[in-house]
């Protein structure tokens, strides 16, 4: 059964002061006996996630809420194994499909078709499997013969159609989503929404970070409220959203 179990995990970013990071100063420090520049070697550390413990099990659809900088995206990246915890542990079972930045990996000089193939290979598909996907993506994006053109000739809306079509052409087990809605014309938005619902129902675990509380209420059964890199509360979606709204009445 798919699961993500995080225990006392922290993610700390070292901020290398311009002084501390260059080799020159490492030398200076050695030659001056470590006194003169000693303050420069004490790197600032930003604690993006602070002692997080969360268990997510099969069937959970978890919404991540919290204001900007609360640590939602970092938590998703921790779950995706992009950041390994600097403290604590994470145990994950199941194939993770992150949908963190849909424009990621779209090469503007390459054609739409080439982009589909490239992404497919990156996801570990064979040429044959990709070929089977191409028609499906072509139909979904509605880009027609534009797919044979370099993506730099696309309008931004068309680029989003392609990116979204490619990014969602997966069969996810654990799906991690970071704010993917928000662009494209109304017609495409409806399509995108349907696609997302389809994707959500296929996956055994979904973690979904968003500022759109109505989407979270619609798609999720659980939610995590984050603030300052900490998990403030984890529970049923309506209770958490209520709590969040109480704290931030403007949302």
């Amino acid at each position: 059964m798919a699961h993500i179990r995080i225990k006392n995990a922290s993610v700390e970013f070292p901020i290398y002061h311009a002084n501390a990071r260059s080799i020159k100063n490492q030398f200076i420090r050695i030659s001056t006996g470590g006194k003169v520049m000693s303050d420069a070697s004490q790197h600032l550390v930003v604690k993006a996630l602070d002692n997080i413990s969360v268990n997510i099990e099969h069937g959970d659809r978890v919404g991540l809420v919290g204001h900007n900088g609360a640590g939602k995206s970092t938590l998703l990246k921790l779950m995706a194994d992009i950041y390994e915890p600097t403290r604590g542990t994470i145990d994950r079972d199941g194939k993770v499909s992150p949908l963190l930045n849909i424009m990621q990996g779209i090469e503007t000089e390459s054609t739409g078709y080439e982009n589909i193939v490239m992404r497919g290979i990156c996801l570990g598909l064979t040429r044959k499997q990709i070929k089977a996907k191409v028609d499906e993506i072509a139909e979904f994006t509605g880009l027609g013969s534009y797919l044979a053109m370099p993506t730099r000739t696309y309008s931004s809306g068309m680029q989003i159609r392609l990116a979204f079509g490619i990014a969602t052409s997966i069969e996810p087990e654990i799906l991690l989503i970071d704010e993917v809605f928000g662009a494209g014309d109304a017609d495409f938005m409806q399509k995108a929404r349907n696609k997302m619902v389809e994707l959500l129902s296929q996956s055994s675990i979904v973690v979904f970070a968003s500022h759109a509380n109505d989407l979270i209420a619609e798609f999720c059964n659980k939610a995590i409220l984050m603030d300052g890199g900490k998990v403030i509360a984890f529970g049923k979606v309506n209770e958490i959203l209520e709590l969040y709204q109480k704290q931030h009445p403007h949302n």
Binding site: P14, A80, I82, T86, L100, E107, M118, C122, G124
Partner: protein
């Protein structure tokens, strides 16, 4: 428990780096293709510019050093092809993780994937450059021979790849942590070009300075390509140095990669 988990993840990174050949080969090919996207000749510009360089250099330097063209052309061409590959691999390795920072922060791929990408990209370029050597082989067939030793090119290239991988991890890691190292690596590479018998033959160095070449492992790596292409064998002493340098690289790389692999994403 944490250390054994880290060891397993490091080994997994290494193994799936190899298994991911589809990904890095595609990325490597893509890098070259994009560089020549709108040109008619495409990647064959690589061959053409290499040809112009070595053919004109060969003519000039043969006269400067007063060496027979017949002897010099094959020596220089093979040396330049070998050095171009080795030096660009090192220079590109310095930027392995910074050039892929965008991908590293969005998708989880083994870190060795990006090292493979850099090396295989330069291997593809090598196979374009090698074409320059064909006319030389025909024109100067008395010096440049095809024989049993030529077959050694395959194991030699594999050894070069292995070293690219181990030293690649070392260089890429250090340069990700200390961006200044990128510039330092590049200037060192430039100096080594003049210090290594690529333009000049080791035989013109006075005997008392012969140790100078012996101490330069880059010469052995150039020989790895040059010797089989010219139908020559590699001296036993050179194999010794190669074995030592390879072992050193593997040790150093495993130590650093085990210790700092998980930190890479935090550095870039």
């Amino acid at each position: 428990m944490k250390t054994s988990m880290n060891r397993n993840k490091t080994i997994a990174d290494l193994l799936s780096g190899f298994q991911n050949w589809r990904i890095w080969l595609m990325l490597a090919y893509q890098d070259i293709k994009l560089r020549y996207r709108r040109s008619k000749l495409g990647p064959f510009w690589l061959t053409l510019s290499m040809a112009v360089t070595v053919y004109s250099m060969g003519f000039l330097y043969a006269h400067l050093f007063k060496i027979d063209l017949q002897a010099y052309y094959p020596f220089l061409t093979t040396g330049m092809i070998a050095w171009t590959m080795i030096s660009t691999i090192i220079n590109d390795l310095a930027e392995t993780f910074t050039e892929s920072a965008g991908t590293i922060k969005q998708i989880k791929l083994p870190y060795t994937t990006y090292v493979h990408r850099v090396i295989s990209r330069n291997f593809i370029i090598f196979f374009h450059n090698i074409v320059v050597y064909i006319p030389i082989l025909i024109l100067f067939h008395e010096v440049a021979k095809i024989n049993m030793h030529t077959l050694m090119i395959i194991p030699n290239l594999l050894l070069l790849y292995l070293n690219g991988l181990s030293y690649g991890v070392v260089i890429a890691l250090i340069c990700a942590r200390y961006p200044d190292m990128i510039q330092i690596v590049k200037s060192i590479v430039q100096v080594i070009f003049f210090m290594t018998p690529i333009l000049w033959s080791p035989s013109i160095l006075p005997a008392k300075y012969a140790f100078f070449i012996l101490l330069n492992p880059f010469y052995c790596f150039v020989q790895l390509i040059r010797a089989p292409l010219m139908g020559q064998s590699i001296a036993l002493s050179e194999w010794g140095i190669l074995a030592f340098v390879t072992a050193l690289g593997l040790t150093f790389a495993s130590y650093l990669f085990l210790k700092y692999r998980a930190r890479i994403v935090y550095w870039i």
